[in-house]
Symmetry: C2
Subunit: 323 residues, 2 copies
């Protein structure tokens, strides 16, 4: 099992990416192909067992537009995606520019037959479980038919990769009643209802963290608002808590005594613990690791890429969408 | 100054509503007209100074559809809105069904000339300040022109009622760059840019609680997702914190020592502290108090209704929209 990893993508590249790969080789028994600047990679590669490097001279940054994948053809991301497309590895992991990764997966790895758009599906930690949000920003102005395909892809991934037996699939809306929603979601409601999956109807943003669904279907514009509102609120709360504990010697002491509980709470909200977000709809297993990934998070993303490939989620999606 | 109050709307009606009115008479020097079941109201009315009752035999519940305002014509909400329309009071406050209140404001109080839709604009507590979110669910499938009117109304309210000198007006989007957004928000971006107000561009959901804008413009569908995601995450955090503090004798002791800080944090997130949400675009000052309002929250909503009327926000909106 060979995982291709973009050595140059993300805030902590290449140091933490390379470390994460060495960790993955140790713990997951995988082989790694690192794409990027060989010289820079080698600086951090203290153990090259089962790790090879494929040279790539360019780097795609966060500032680059999605069209960059057509221009920076010798970037670590494009070189990696080409290796995946040619079958020289089984999965691809990048912590770089999401928009470019989606565009690259579409143009280079290509879409599954019948799939109209490739989607980014991050996993939201919910009450000890995991909810896949599909889509979180790659696709805006979706048609109802696109939302229907998101339901199919999210359901397949939840089942195959996350091991949920009969995933509860919900539709993000402004109320739980069937008549709630906008024109698009009301039309999607009808389409998803007719699919052979466990559709539980409209879901309000307020209930997501209680883990009421395993798969949450949304237009990327709305999914993005949801995800960032949750992140922003969690961050705001943490900041305020921190200030509270730093106030004086007594509050600091309390912080010390509550350390276990606080780090448990932090862990509950920590996206890094949950690996990365699958890019769904492409003909290969692509995982977007969080931009701020350190070594552990990156190796978790590799673990998820391994599962993605092994669980044959792409075959499931292909079968379901062409039924 | 005479405020009409729906005595029968909300989870704690009529007891807490009546108490809130007595509080408002004491502290704000207003006269109150209470609409509802006279007998039930009188049970709680221990001091009727400056409070009169107008009998209404019906009650609109949360389960009622928006069409209810045409059917329950003798309900406390409809009777109150009619009094406002006839000029027998200066403002109207209800903690009842939001959808019915919006429909009633539109049908009975009527829209301001030139205004196409009445909007609900709750105030989000943000880092010690207040951000008006317009709209939060009353209107879905908005046109760009509607979003433009929301910007005008939110700006006028922020200036006149909340006393913000030059309100920063932002557009809820999936990124801060100008090209971000969906078809509707990109068109609205152009329209709002051309208005004579302080438009600061696209705003991400992640930054809202940092107080980056005074007025946040959104389609009701997306505004609803934002608001409920913030509420849900705050609730989830509070629940988890509570559990952490209840674990054992030491954590309980810490909770006791941190009481001041914790209640400060709670207060920061407490919608009740901030009165109610104005219903904007109607020809009268209408305030939606939170459904769970107790006496203090209700009297804060009355304070806001008083300001809404005194600040002549409706005249400002009328002038701006017909320029």
């Amino acid at each position: 099992m060979k995982i291709i990893v973009d050595a140059m993508g993300g805030d902590n590249a290449p140091a933490e990416i390379v470390k994460g790969c060495m960790l993955a080789v140790q713990n997951l028994g995988v082989e790694i192909i690192l794409t990027g600047d060989e010289e820079k990679i080698k600086k951090h590669l203290t153990d090259d067992k089962n790790i090879t490097i494929v040279q790539a001279s360019e780097v795609i940054t966060y500032e680059d537009s999605v069209n960059v994948v057509r221009q920076k053809t010798d970037s670590s991301m494009v070189v990696g995606l080409n290796l995946l497309a040619k079958g020289e590895g089984d999965a691809f992991v990048s912590a770089g520019n999401s928009g470019a990764l989606i565009a690259g997966a579409t143009l280079i790895v290509k879409r599954i037959k019948g799939i109209r758009r490739v989607a980014l599906a991050p996993i939201i930690p919910t009450n000890g479980k995991s909810t896949i949000l599909i889509d979180c920003g790659a696709n805006v102005d979706c048609t109802p038919e696109l939302l229907e395909q998101f339901a199919i892809m999210g359901n397949a991934y939840s089942k195959a990769v996350l091991g949920v037996e009969n995933p509860r699939v919900g539709l993000l809306s402004n109320g739980t009643e069937e008549h709630k929603g906008n024109e698009k979601t009301r039309a999607a409601y009808g389409l998803i209802s007719a699919l052979p999956l466990n559709f539980v109807g409209n879901i309000e943003a307020r209930d997501i963290l209680d883990g009421v669904v395993d798969v949450l279907v949304a237009d990327g514009f709305e999914g993005n608002i949801l995800l960032k509102a949750i992140e922003g609120t969690a961050l705001y709360f943490s900041k305020n808590l921190k200030e509270m504990f730093m106030k004086n010697i007594i509050t600091k002491l309390c912080g010390l005594m509550l350390k276990g509980g606080l780090s448990g709470l932090k862990k509950k909200f920590d996206y890094n613990e949950h690996g990365g977000a699958p890019v769904l709809g492409a003909c290969g297993a692509v995982i977007k690791a969080h931009g701020s990934s350190k070594a552990l998070a990156l190796s978790n993303a590799i673990r998820q890429a391994k599962k993605f490939y092994e669980a044959k989620a792409i075959e499931s999606i292909t079968n379901l969408v062409n039924q």
